[in-house]
């Protein structure tokens, strides 16, 4: 008979969790599930494990290590016993069954596999009895996220990825998959196949789609076309062999089979791109000379998919516009974009190579010609240089050389295409902040399993909150499959950052409270915040900043209707500012279909944050003023800011920070020419720093073709922000010094930072 158990102190629970995580090899961490008992098991306590009994040798806390968490019992597992006074590992026993088969022992899961384990197979059988000194792996086993986005680094502390890798933080690929279906028919010409190859290369090489996620249905299951006899030869784009892998022949059954496959895979945050390049008839999309897939059939296929985040359908074939309504009507995605070369009554143009509209569309998406040359002009990018689907379609329409084409575009909810990108969503959109008000920044990480809040503690990360999906934070039900985390900001003022969270249901603000979180605000879609109608299907949130200067942060919200600033107000939000498209903020004409908002900062040093906005016309800085905004600065493309020639099509706006330490934020800007720092000066900007590629910052050779900039932070402490630069050579930290930058630190790849082996080819910052 077991004696009553003594509860384990929370502080020891944390220490033991850390020790248990540290004892895992990266391979084990990727597959094992760890859970901890909430009690101290006295010496002599017995666990009945079906056909054996495990007896506790001395008073101990238990960590149960399931090495094959997706297998049925029994399978290999381990019992780790820890000293309840010191948290140190005492000993470990291997077993085949868990302690709670009967459900009588409560275990808290604090680490779970990040990816499904398929197929089930044995893993490393045992773990070391004594925890080894954790050493960061030279190359992380799992992809990991950038640790410190933008300007939130801990002053004077280098929070490194090595620490994060110890707890196997996932990249967003784990929870956000991107799929594509590329279709030609059995009667396609080679030019159609050429388009597919261009799209395939763009998805894989530009956007990083996994080739296994691209289903190419082409001709008879090979790369071929009816106007080619024999081998197709090299691809017309750059005269190299075709790279795409054909999944199957282009038949209706095979297309339905792909939809069925996707139906079993799609998750709420996934994206699907469907591109058809082919012939079409008034009755539908050609399959062969006598068969079509009708718009209604296509709609039925779409309707059979589960809910997911984004559907993008692009169609080149004749009469393709007939698929617009069935696509929008039957899509199960939260956001749907449809674009086609022609309307429902028009034939689309061809060319000797590539179909003109498809070529232009894919050029816009790839940012290059099929020969990988420069485009004569560029699609309108956002502040990061990324091209949204809407911008790509606009560019394709403007640059389509098919005189009979009549490109069509529609999105649902209206305007969503302006914020849909084929790349992964940023892994950490403002997912860091001082959530426990200890003066240091913590990280919020998510996985398909749940959510964690990690805090640096010495050389490790401590899990302040480690919670599986299904947990309720006050009224908020955690589900990382469709919850979007961030931005983190001080919405209620004070020093504690709260977490802004949104889902298809609505929004909430989470606040750390002990080892869990409360939810001081949560509201469903349909709620009015003042006049703002909440709709998370088409509202985009962020950045958060103190726009009104009251010491509490507000969040910018953008929709197809216009923009607003939402402010925490008790258990709901208010909208101290909201204005529709068409409003003039001073001289700036608001149009959320092509305005890009971001890079908040106190550009004028007045204690209130402003926001940078760009458009195809130029850039502006918007400042909250009463219930509207004003634009203390707006300038069109072609303006010279000192020597810097503004061109929003070719400029990328890096992190804003106080690079000169004067109390005002400056804008870091890059182009193919070089870099600059732009500073607000009256109604315009000046450029205290401009440096052409080839300039040396100390030993650092500037080359914007392969240098990446950011995050910015005060890496040495103090009021001056520095900027991290990475390149294929290595990394550096640069500080503004007069009219140039100095390299405070630079190290080549291969350098070891403690145990971390620097390799910018696979390290992300």
């Amino acid at each position: 008979m077991n004696t009553p158990l003594t509860p384990l102190r929370p502080v020891l629970s944390v220490t033991i969790k850390q020790a248990a995580l540290a004892s895992l090899t990266p391979q084990q961490a990727a597959v094992a599930r760890l859970s901890i008992g909430g009690s101290i098991f006295p010496a002599g306590h017995t666990f009945k494990l079906v056909d054996t009994v495990l007896t506790v040798k001395q008073d101990a806390a238990l960590v149960f290590v399931d090495l094959m968490p997706q297998a049925n019992w029994g399978h290999k597992c381990a019992y780790q016993f820890y000293d309840p006074a010191t948290g140190k590992l005492l000993y470990q026993q291997d077993a085949l069954f868990p302690p709670n088969l009967a459900g009588d022992i409560a275990l808290e899961v604090f680490h779970a596999p990040l990816v499904p384990i398929v197929p089930i197979r044995p893993v490393a059988p045992v773990m070391p009895v004594s925890p080894a000194v954790p050493v960061a792996p030279a190359t992380p086993v799992m992809p990991v996220m950038p640790v410190l986005p933008a300007d939130r680094a801990i002053p004077g502390q280098g929070l490194t990825r090595a620490l994060v890798s110890d707890v196997q933080v996932p990249a967003s690929e784990v929870v956000e998959q991107r799929y594509a279906i590329l279709w030609t028919s059995q009667i396609s010409d080679l030019r159609h196949v050429e388009d597919l190859e261009f799209m395939w290369r763009t998805l894989v090489n530009v956007y990083g789609f996994a080739s296994a996620n691209i289903y190419v249905l082409c001709y008879n299951g090979t790369i071929g076309a009816v106007d080619v006899s024999g081998a197709v030869g090299n691809w017309a784009g750059n005269n190299t062999p075709y790279e795409m892998s054909v999944y199957s022949s282009a038949t209706t059954a095979n297309l339905q089979a792909v939809f069925n496959t996707l139906g079993g895979k799609l998750k709420p945050k996934d994206l699907v791109l469907i591109h058809t390049n082919n012939h079409g008839s008034t009755t539908g999309l050609c399959v062969d000379s006598s068969t079509v897939i009708t718009p209604a059939q296509f709609g039925t296929m779409l309707k059979g998919l589960p809910a997911y985040r984004t559907l993008v359908v692009t169609m080149e074939q004749c009469f393709s516009g007939a698929f617009q309504n069935p696509t929008l009507t039957n899509s199960t995605a939260a956001n749907t974009v449809f674009a086609s070369a022609v309307d429902a009554n028009t034939s689309s143009d061809g060319a000797a190579h590539f179909d003109p509209w498809a070529l232009a569309l894919i050029e816009a998406l790839s940012g290059a010609t099929a020969a990988w040359g420069a485009l004569p002009s560029k699609p309108n990018p956002n502040l990061d240089g990324l091209v949204a689907i809407k911008a790509a379609c606009d560019w394709a329409k403007a640059n389509d050389t098919g005189s009979d084409d009549d490109p069509q575009y529609a999105d649902q909810p209206a305007g969503c295409g302006s914020r849909i990108y084929l790349g992964l969503s940023p892994a950490l959109p403002d997912q860091d902040g001082d959530v426990n008000a200890d003066g240091c920044t913590e990280l919020v990480v998510t996985s398909p399993w749940g959510l964690g809040i990690l805090e640096q503690l010495g050389a490790k990360l401590l899990g302040l909150v480690v919670t599986p999906n299904g947990t309720r934070f006050g009224g908020w039900l955690l589900n990382t499959a469709d919850n979007l985390i961030g931005p983190l900001a001080n919405f209620s003022g004070g020093s504690q950052a709260e977490i802004f969270i949104s889902s298809p249901w609505g929004i909430g603000i989470l606040k750390l409270s002990g080892a869990t979180m409360t939810c001081p605000m949560l509201q469903p879609n349909g709620t009015r915040f003042g006049g703002w109608l909440l709709d998370t299907t088409n509202n985009a949130f962020g950045p958060a900043a103190d726009y009104d200067g009251d010491g509490a942060d507000e969040v910018l919200v953008v929709s197809p209707w216009g923009i607003g600033i939402l402010k925490l107000s008790g258990s709901t939000m208010s909208a101290p500012m909201m204005q529709p498209n068409g409003t003039r903020f001073g001289g700036w004409l608001l149009d959320t279909s092509n305005n890009n908002f971001g890079r908040a900062g106190d550009y004028d040093g007045d204690g209130k944050d402003e926001i940078l906005v760009s458009s195809p016309w130029g850039i502006g800085i918007l400042q909250m003023s009463g219930s509207s905004m004003v634009s203390p600065m707006l300038q069109p493309n072609g303006t010279r800011f000192g020597g810097w020639l503004l061109d929003t099509y070719n400029n990328i706006f890096g992190p804003s920070a106080d690079y000169d330490g004067d109390g005002s934020a400056e804008i870091f800007i890059t182009s193919a020419w070089g870099i600059g720092v732009l500073k607000l000066s009256g109604g315009t900007l000046v450029s205290p720093v401009m440096a052409q590629n080839g300039t040396r910052f100390g030993g650092w050779l500037l080359n914007t073709a392969d240098n990446h900039f950011g995050p910015s932070a005060s890496y040495e402490g103090g009021p001056v922000a520095e900027i991290l630069i990475t390149s294929p050579w290595g990394i550096g930290i640069m500080r503004m010094a007069g009219g140039t930058f100095d390299a405070m630190m630079m190290q080549p790849n291969g350098t070891r930072f403690g145990g971390w082996l620097l390799n910018t080819a696979d390290n992300q910052f």
Binding site: A225, D227, S229, H279, S281, T282, C318, S347, S348
Partner: protein, 136 residues
Amino acid sequence: MTSPGTSEKPDELDELVLLHLTEGERQRSAVYIDSVPRPAGRALVGRREVQLGQPRFVAFVDQRPGANWAHPCRYLLVDPVSRQVEAVPGDGPPVFGALPPSWRLVWRSPGIDDWRLLPIFQQNPEQISQKTKDIP
């Protein structure tokens, strides 16, 4: 007179077809003739089935050469005996891909680049050249 079942005197046949082109087709089209006549009975012209009382030569008028299918086109059915020509509207080519070697190009409007023409399977190198004619 051209005997049914042969391709003799193609110029005469070509001229007859070209006479029946519309002004728009003269300005922008590519025209092909199958030198092997269809026998009497049911015949497929494009995706349309027709009933032929007599053997007919078939000409294909691509009104938007180079555009993706489907797009407007016409089939001209030529009675080699009576020299009567019947037009059948269509929206697809005789076949997808290369035309059989019995087909030949008889008209291309000015400005129609080579790539806009339908490929024709060639039986031997001597038949490679594609013939064009002036409008009579």
